[in-house]
C-alpha cells in the first residue's frame, strides 16, 4: 500500500509517499520507523481514511493512509 507523507516527515523520507506492506496499524508503525528512522522521537499521527487513529486495527490495503507531523495551521 502507498502511504502519504507530509511536512517534516516527507522531508525526512525524501518523498511524499512510501510503499509499505502492513496488515495492521502496529505493523505499519514498525515499518515506518524502520524506513524513516527520524520518526523515532518525533511526534506524529496516523490517519486512516482521513481520520486520526490511535488504537491498533487491521488494515486491508484499500485504506488511504497518511503519516502526519504536528499541525501548524493558522
Amino acid at each position: 500500500m502507498e502511504v502519504l507523507l507530509f511536512g517534516m516527515i516527507a522531508e525526512k523520507a525524501g518523498s511524499p509517499t512510501l510503499q509499505v506492506d502492513a496488515d495492521s496499524l502496529e505493523a505499519l508503525r514498525t515499518q515506518l520507523v524502520e524506513r524513516i528512522p527520524a520518526l523515532r522521537g518525533m511526534r506524529y499521527a496516523i490517519a486512516v481514511d482521513r481520520q486520526v487513529v490511535t488504537t491498533d486495527h487491521a488494515l486491508t490495503g484499500t485504506e488511504e493512509i497518511a503519516v502526519l507531523p504536528p499541525f501548524a495551521g493558522g
Partner: protein, 157 residues
C-alpha cells in the same frame, strides 16, 4: 458522504497570501444581508519570530512560512467543524474560512475566519472556537524559512 446528510465541502485553501483587499471585499458582500448586526474577523499574519538566541542581533528570523496541507482530510475536518459551529451558534448568519498555501512572507496574511451574526456575542464566540479547532485539527504544515536560508518546522503546540 451519504445522501441522507448532504453537505457541501467548501475549499478553504488559497494559493499565496490573503490580500487585505479581499477582506474588504468579503465585508462588502454582506451589505445586502441586513439581518446581520455584527461581523467578527480573525486574521492570522506570519510573524517574524526570532529563532534561537534572544537578544542576539545575528539570530535568524522567520522570513516566510511555506504552508502545505493534506487537503482532503483538512476539508473533511473543516466541514465537520463548520457544521458543529452552526449547531452551537444557530443564530450565526455565515462563516467564511480561508487559509493560505505556498510561501507567505512575514507580515502577510495567511488565515482568515469571518463570522457574521445578528448580534456580536455569537459571532465572537464562534470565531474564537473555530480558530482554535482549525489550529488543532486541520492537517496543515508550515515550513518556516529563516533569514539565514535554513528552515525549521512550525508546530502549534
Amino acid at each position: 458522504m451519504s445522501d441522507a446528510k448532504p453537505h457541501k465541502v467548501k475549499d478553504i485553501f488559497v494559493e499565496g497570501a490573503i490580500p487585505p483587499s479581499f477582506i474588504a471585499e468579503s465585508i462588502a458582500k454582506h451589505a445586502t444581508r441586513t439581518d446581520i448586526g455584527a461581523h467578527e474577523i480573525f486574521l492570522g499574519q506570519v510573524r517574524a519570530d526570532v529563532i534561537g538566541g534572544a537578544g542576539d542581533v545575528n539570530a535568524a528570523r522567520t522570513a516566510a512560512i511555506e504552508y502545505t496541507a493534506y487537503r482532503e482530510m483538512a476539508l473533511e475536518r473543516m466541514t465537520i467543524i463548520r457544521e458543529q459551529a452552526f449547531a452551537k451558534w444557530p443564530a450565526m448568519t455565515c462563516l467564511h474560512v480561508h487559509h493560505s498555501l505556498g510561501v507567505i512572507k512575514a507580515g502577510e496574511l495567511c488565515f482568515m475566519v469571518f463570522a457574521s451574526a445578528p448580534h456580536r456575542q455569537q459571532a465572537r464566540e464562534a470565531v474564537a472556537w473555530v480558530v482554535d479547532r482549525i489550529k488543532s485539527e486541520l492537517p496543515i504544515f508550515g515550513r518556516e524559512i529563516l533569514s539565514d536560508a535554513t528552515h525549521i518546522w512550525k508546530t502549534n503546540l
